[in-house]
């Protein structure tokens, strides 16, 4: 899978604190796991970064399994104006030490108080899907124009 460059629109969406951000992972057994993840943001390296507070959370373990066995994770974003995207990608790095981790550790604790930070995950984006409802409906109509309920095609009756 080729790497996708994050567009300026997507970077803005990723970095907006008002954006709803969801992370979807799967366990080694394939069981899906979805959590809200406000720390998802665009990293300076053009990849998606996110924080894991808990070392033993299901998400952290699933991300570890994904980096070990080259599996995809999914991220859903919904901006305050309804613009929505799904990013599918693979975890490629887990910072648990070093300058990037320590910088986030300090800033995170400055914002959130006395909480720990287990690591910073880096996700390589491989698919960027515009999930904004109006855009998806338009795409669907163009690709499958005959998929609809017939009552939507009925001539309007004239009032007598």
């Amino acid at each position: 899978m080729t790497r996708h460059t994050l567009t300026p629109e997507l970077i803005a969406l990723l970095n907006d604190p008002e954006t709803i951000k969801i992370l979807g992972t799967t366990s080694p057994d394939g069981v899906p796991h979805v959590v809200s993840k406000g720390s998802i943001h665009a990293g300076d390296d053009g990849r998606v970064h996110l924080f894991q507070v808990l070392e033993h959370s299901q998400s952290n373990r699933n991300l570890t399994h994904s980096i070990w066995f080259d599996r995809q994770v999914a991220i859903y974003l919904r901006g305050k104006d309804g613009t929505s995207y799904q990013i599918k990608g693979r975890p490629v790095q887990h910072h648990i030490t070093g300058p990037l981790f320590q910088q986030h550790y300090v800033n995170f604790r400055a914002r959130r108080g006395d909480v720990d930070l287990a690591g910073v995950w880096v996700i390589e984006p491989e698919q960027l899907i515009n999930e904004t409802p109006a855009v998806r409906i338009q795409e669907e109509n163009l690709r499958h124009p005959h998929v609809t309920h017939l009552d939507r095609l009925v001539k309007p009756t004239t009032a007598s």
Binding site: E55, H95, T97, G98
Partner: protein, 420 residues
């Protein structure tokens, strides 16, 4: 291009072919095992991009390395999943992996084939400082990526007796050379230790645990009493830095009696205890660790280990084995299959009693009696790591005190990252 005369480490399957047979085993952990097993060689290009102000270079350590040198090469490596690789710098003739610079980043190679991007350990801030008496702080407290190491006694008294030292170990030969060449103080001053740990802790987010270890000290009213007192004093000195009575810590030491262990637990901030059986077979223990066998014995060492669970709690007591040394010749197991079965059987008996077993990768170092031997195959280590972690999962044993972050020297506890 790496040029040199080298022979293959063993007549065995390649890394790729071995991994093909273990599709459920993480490639990155297999790579860590193999880099530790065969060592690494730093190219001139790689060394030219090492910055002594940024990267952590080799400093004082309890054991020596395969190149039998104190040259300031990088201490070790990190893989991109956060896995620590504690790989010895190794002469090219011994078929090591290659650490190179590809123009943009450090990489791990097999010959000229690129395998992985890697990072060189970062030097902690306190490494640039010296103590009040002028000792570099790195010689008082050394660092791994997330752990502080304190070696209070670098002399092992088992070695003081003829044929008493463990046959895979080079502790005393290495430490004599280390004291001469690096001028590492033979014993730490407690005030300076307190201050050094305090300096290290000023770096936010850097460290998650403190590990104490050293050579066995047989002296005292009872065997090991002086060693116990040394650790109590050391832990209390470290503890002065913390607001809590207990702090995340591991002691890797001799097999202490219940009375000694209770003192350690009650008088210090220690949270976990490890005492290494080294090899999980009594007759091999007697051959490989004659000093331990003579002064304590396998069965008593094992009994004390299990007794420690009642004091430190289930999941806080472990034993280390030198993975692969059970195949040392002429008295070791003759096949990897037999060695694995016997080792996992005994590890299971310990797990049932609440003791967790971790393995290192045996490196036959120049200063040890086993220097001419070869560690077993990668396939063996993969099976050993999987087997030990499966036991931990089966018996619900926690290993956070000795895991990928707090230690990084045990492929089996790296696998525990998937354990809840």
């Amino acid at each position: 291009m790496v040029v040199g005369t080298q022979e293959k480490y063993r007549n065995e399957l390649s890394f790729h072919d071995t991994l093909e047979q273990h599709s459920d085993f993480p490639r990155l952990i297999a790579l860590k095992i193999d880099a530790q097993r065969r060592g690494v060689h730093y190219t001139e290009q790689a060394l030219a991009h090492i910055d002594p102000q940024i990267h952590q270079l080799r400093t004082s350590s309890l054991f020596g390395s395969r190149d039998n040198s104190f040259q300031p090469v990088p201490q070790s490596l990190l893989l991109r999943d956060g896995t620590t690789v504690l790989a010895d710098p190794t002469p090219l003739s011994q078929d090591p992996y290659i650490v190179d610079w590809d123009g943009d980043q450090f990489v791990l190679k097999e010959g000229d084939t690129l395998l992985e991007q890697i990072e060189i350990w970062r030097q902690p801030d306190y490494y640039r400082q010296v103590s009040a008496s002028g000792v570099p702080l790195e010689h008082i407290v050394s660092a791994r990526p997330q752990r502080l190491n304190v070696m209070q006694s670098s002399f092992c008294y088992f070695w003081a007796e003829e044929d008493g030292g463990c046959k895979y170990c080079d502790i005393n030969t290495h430490n004599q050379a280390q004291q001469n060449q690096l001028r590492v103080p033979p014993q730490l001053r407690l005030q300076e230790l307190t201050a050094a740990v305090g300096e290290a802790l000023k770096e936010p987010g850097r460290f998650t645990a403190i590990c104490l270890t050293g050579g066995s000290v047989l002296k005292g009213t009872e065997l090991f009493d002086r060693e116990v007192q040394l650790y109590i004093d050391t832990l209390q000195a470290i503890g002065e830095n913390f607001t809590t009575r207990k702090f995340p810590s591991q002691l890797i030491a001799s097999a202490f009696t219940e009375k000694q262990l209770i003192r350690l637990y009650e008088e210090t901030g220690l949270t976990s205890y490890t005492t290494d059986l080294e090899v999980l077979d009594e007759s091999l223990f007697n051959w490989i660790c004659p000093g331990k066998a003579k002064h304590v014995g396998y069965q008593e060492w094992r009994r004390r280990l299990i007794a420690a669970v009642d004091i430190f709690g289930r999941g806080n007591v472990g034993t280390g084995i030198v993975g692969g040394v059970e195949l040392a010749q002429p008295h070791g197991f003759k096949t990897e299959r037999d060695a694995l079965l016997a080792t996992l059987d005994e590890a299971e008996a310990l797990a049932e009693k609440g003791v967790t077993t971790v393995h290192t990768v045996w490196v036959p170092r120049p200063g040890s009696q086993f220097h001419a031997q070869r560690a077993p195959s990668l396939d063996y280590y993969i099976r050993l790591a999987k087997g030990l972690q499966a036991l931990r999962a089966k018996y619900g044993l926690d290993i956070t005190f000795d895991d990928y972050r707090r230690c990084g020297n045990h492929p089996d506890s790296d696998l525990a990252r998937l354990q809840g």
